[in-house]
Amino acid sequence: MTMVFVETDPAGEVTLTSAEALTFARKTPQLLPDGGAATSREVSGPPSGSTEGVVIGPLSGAAIAALGRLGVSVIHHLDHPDLAEYSAAAWAQAIVDVAPESGTLLASGTPRGMELMAHAAVRTGARMAANVMAADEDGLLRQVHGGTAFERLRLDGDLQVLTIAGHACTPEETTPVTPEVYDYDLTVAEADLATRAQSTEVEAADDAAGLTSARAVVGAGRGVGSENGFAEVLELVDHLGGALGVSRVVTGLGWRPHAEQVGQTGSRISPDVYIACGISGAIQHMAGIEGAKTLVAINTDEEATMVQRADYAIIGDLHEVVGAVNEEIVRRRG
């Protein structure tokens, strides 16, 4: 059995990356080292080889329906006042309490997913593989060196714990099922609450969450030239109702906040279009934009990796080109 930790957003909807992880689980039967045999866990009934979901905190009707469309037959709903604030240890133990003894436990490769799966792996004595891209007869394939290379590996043990690389797979719905929802009478150990979050400061709308869900992202790199060089790209963001994403050179120079960084150590995005302006296309940046459906490059250097990897490119100074694009959009609006 494959169990997926499902993240929900503040509105109670299943996040895009969790939908990806659920699709990955459903479409990768090779994940089951036990061939889908039933487990000894107390919950009875789920068909073998199925995908089960774990949700912590409020569980909305919309999320139940969405999980059903993603083929989830059983939802383990873990709700407890002590889990209302995030505490990795307490959340991980709650997941471990309902996890199968054999099979696969996985989450998407978000910061939460990574942290919870690592705790769960230690608590179950399991191995963990982060950023898995695929699983087949040959074992697992995962991203290493920031996406420059893939590692082939085999996890041993009855339970394998994984995270799925962001955008390793596209969410796909299936014949809807009506999930059975199991609620539990949980106990949370005091010791596991030592690292509970005290509070959360909610930032403005242009945060990382907006970046990962935007349909259009305008990327800006060193080519922007200075802290004051963002006027044209920000105007384009506005015309597209999208988000700004930047390279690490830009955050490193302090031109823009780290929350806007895209790449290996920033956000992984999957917009319909990514317009990379003045970004060379370093492997660590490309790792964050693999999910983009259409890639556009605006760069003075025709040989730049970003131009070579793009679907469309304009060769030229980004300030001039983006300025002209903005004018053209305004002109066509009339």
Partner: protein, 270 residues
Amino acid sequence: MNILVCIKRVPDIAGSVTVDATGTGIDDSGLGHTMSSHEECAVELAIQTAAATGGTVTVLTVGPAEAVEQLRAAVAVGANDGILVEAADPSVFAPEDIAQIIGDVIRDRAEAGQTFDLVLTGDDAADTGDFQVGIRLAYDLEYPVLTNIQTISVGGTDEGGGPGGDPGSGRIEARGIGPAGTEIFSLGLPAVVAVHEGGVDPRYPSITGRMKAKKAQVVEYDAPEPGTGSLRVRLELPEVKASSVTILGEGPDAAPALVDVLEEIGVIRP
């Protein structure tokens, strides 16, 4: 507050790479080496925190003899001393092994009279990206652990009631990026904190720093045989796809062609 920062020597990759003769690693003979950007920020956080509390910063690495370069780089920016656990080829170890090795060294240093209030790691190493050594180390030491932390400051009440309190009270406040905004934690020490880049700017070494680094004390250990051992079967490289770019044109004259594309995708706000 005495702080230990775990850093890993990794190849500095800019372009494409090749797989080495063993088929399990990348050929790093032509590459420079560095530490992960998360770890650079962890070193910076450690230096600032130690300065605020009158404590020390020690850096530790499990790696080949050459990894002393990364230890000295950290001393050059302000760390006090280093610990090298020499392993000719650290890739034979699983993350479980690395955590165990670091835990054993921390216990051994404690016996030698050197204790650490706070152990920092990066969220993940730039090469293996396992995202677990810090957490496994915390369980091994039976310390609490946070990951994804960008800044730390000393203090906090013992009830965990939030910021405030005296420096050196045995608590830190840590801030990190959560899915809904900045999450704030109050953490009792000793503890392990895994750092994510972006909260502080790593400083550059000064001339005196470089001089100090040459003479820095480095305690050496030999790594034991791998217990669990790496699970890597082989390394593969992604297929290099031939470019299929359509050049829409040069300069501002190409703008209408791009607006056509954006209209077709349907992302222009009406």
